[in-house]
C-alpha cells in the first residue's frame, strides 16, 4: 500500500499570475482520509498559501465542492482510497470564474437562486396568530426530494449549458423553484413561471442529465426541470385550447 499520494492542485494567484497553474504536493496516504483531509494537510503542513472553501466536513454545508480528476465532487465525501493508484488532480468547480486557487465566484449563482423567488408566496399572508399553514406528510413527500439541495453548485459545474450560456438560470435554482411550486402551502407558481418560462430559464435545459448524476443529495434537478417543462407546456396547451376556460 502506498504511504504517500500525489495531489496536483490548481493554483491561481491573481496578483502574481494571469492564468492558473498546477502545483503538486506529496501527502500521506491514510485510508480514513477524504480528499479534503489531504488538502487540509497541505494547508497545515506544506503550504499555508493554498486557498479553498470548506466548513462542516460532513456533506451538509456544500462549501467544499471542487473538480476531482475532472468530476465535480464534495471533497469531504470522497475517500482518498478511491484514488490510491493514481494521482489526484484538484481544480476549482468548472464553469465558474476563479477568484483564487480553488475558490470560485459564486455571486452569479446566488443571484440566480434568489431570482426564482425561493420562498413561500401567498395571495394573502395570514398573520402568525391565525395559525400555521398545515401540511400532510403526503403533501410534504411531493416536494421533499427537491428541498434537500445544499447549494453546493456541483450541478452547475456538471452542466455544459451553464458553461456555454452563462445567462441560463441553472439546475439548482430551477429545482428550487419547482420545490416551492410543488409545496401545498405555496401560491406563487404563476409568478415563478413568468420568470422561468424563458430560454434562459427552464427551456435552456437540454436534458444532459449530469446535474442529477453528480448531486450528492439525490435532488434530481434534471427531473425537476423536466417536470417544470411539462407543467409549462400543459399551461400553454390550456391557454390555446381553452382560451375562455380556467387557466
Amino acid at each position: 500500500m502506498a504511504e504517500t499520494i500525489e495531489l496536483t492542485v490548481a493554483r491561481y494567484r491573481p496578483e502574481e499570475e494571469t492564468e492558473p497553474t498546477f502545483q503538486s504536493y506529496e501527502v500521506p496516504y491514510r485510508e480514513d482520509w477524504v480528499v479534503l483531509d489531504a488538502l487540509n494537510y497541505v494547508k497545515d503542513q506544506l503550504d499555508g498559501s493554498l486557498s479553498y472553501r470548506w466548513s462542516c466536513r460532513m456533506g451538509v454545508c456544500g462549501s467544499c465542492g471542487m473538480m476531482v480528476n475532472g468530476t465535480p465532487k464534495l471533497t469531504c465525501a470522497v475517500p482518498l482510497s478511491d484514488y490510491v493508484s493514481k494521482p489526484i488532480r484538484i481544480e476549482p468547480l468548472q464553469f465558474f470564474p476563479i477568484l483564487r486557487d480553488l475558490i470560485v465566484d459564486i455571486g452569479g449563482f446566488l443571484g440566480k437562486l434568489s431570482s426564482v423567488k425561493p420562498w413561500i408566496i401567498r395571495d394573502n399572508d395570514q398573520s402568525p396568530h391565525e395559525g400555521e399553514y398545515s401540511q400532510t406528510p403526503a403533501e410534504l413527500d411531493v416536494y421533499k426530494q427537491f428541498s434537500m439541495c445544499i447549494n453546493c453548485m456541483l450541478c452547475y459545474s456538471a452542466c455544459p449549458v451553464v458553461g456555454l450560456e452563462p445567462e441560463f438560470t441553472g439546475p439548482a435554482a430551477i429545482a428550487l423553484a419547482q420545490r416551492y411550486n410543488l409545496d401545498s402551502r405555496d401560491q406563487g407558481a404563476a409568478e415563478r413561471l413568468a420568470i422561468l418560462d424563458e430560454h434562459e430559464g427552464m427551456w435552456g435545459c437540454t436534458f444532459v442529465g449530469e446535474c442529477t448524476k453528480v448531486c450528492p443529495k439525490n435532488v434530481d434537478p434534471a427531473g425537476a426541470i423536466q417536470l417544470y417543462k411539462r407543467a409549462s407546456a400543459t399551461e400553454w396547451f390550456k391557454s390555446v385550447l381553452l382560451p375562455w376556460g380556467s387557466r
Partner: protein, 138 residues
C-alpha cells in the same frame, strides 16, 4: 479598501476559463449526450423520407413505383439502414429518460421508474406490431 481588495485590484482579477469547441469530447457523458442530440438529424431525415413517400403516393401508381425503385438503390438502402440504427438509438435513449419526466403517484407513492419505462417500451412494441400488422396482413 481593505488590504486584500487592494491586492486584488492590482492583480489579474477573476479568471474565466475558456470553453473549447470540443468540450464534449473529453467527457463520456457529454459525448453520449451529443450523439443523442445528433441522432435527431436522422429522425429528421426519416420524416423527410416519409413525406416524400406520401407525396409519391398522392401522385399515382407510377410515381409511387418510381419512388420504391429509387429506395431500392444501394445509396438509399444504406441511408435507410443508417436512419434505422440512429432512430432506434434516439428512441431507446429517450424512452430511458421518460421516468424522469413522467412521475405517477398511486396510493401516495411514486410508481417505480422501471415500471414507467417498461410501460412505454410495451406501448412502443404494441404500436410497432400494430403498424407491422397493417402493412403485412392485407
Amino acid at each position: 479598501m481593505s488590504e486584500v481588495e487592494q491586492r486584488l485590484a492590482g492583480g489579474a482579477g477573476p479568471y474565466h476559463r475558456p470553453i473549447s469547441l470540443w468540450w464534449w469530447l473529453g467527457n463520456r457523458a457529454y459525448l453520449k449526450f451529443i450523439i443523442r442530440e445528433l441522432t435527431s438529424v436522422f429522425v429528421g431525415i426519416f420524416a423527410v423520407l416519409s413525406l416524400w413517400q406520401v407525396t409519391a403516393l398522392s401522385e399515382g401508381p407510377e410515381a409511387y413505383a418510381a419512388f420504391v425503385d429509387r429506395l431500392a438503390t444501394p445509396g438509399f438502402v444504406f441511408l435507410n439502414g443508417a436512419v434505422l440504427l440512429f432512430v432506434l438509438y434516439h428512441t431507446i435513449t429517450w424512452l430511458n429518460l421518460v421516468p424522469t419526466i413522467v412521475v405517477v403517484r398511486l396510493g401516495g407513492r411514486r410508481v417505480p421508474d422501471g415500471i414507467i419505462a417498461a410501460a412505454h417500451y410495451g406501448l412502443w412494441v404494441v404500436l410497432s406490431a400494430a403498424v407491422a400488422g397493417i402493412l403485412l396482413v392485407r
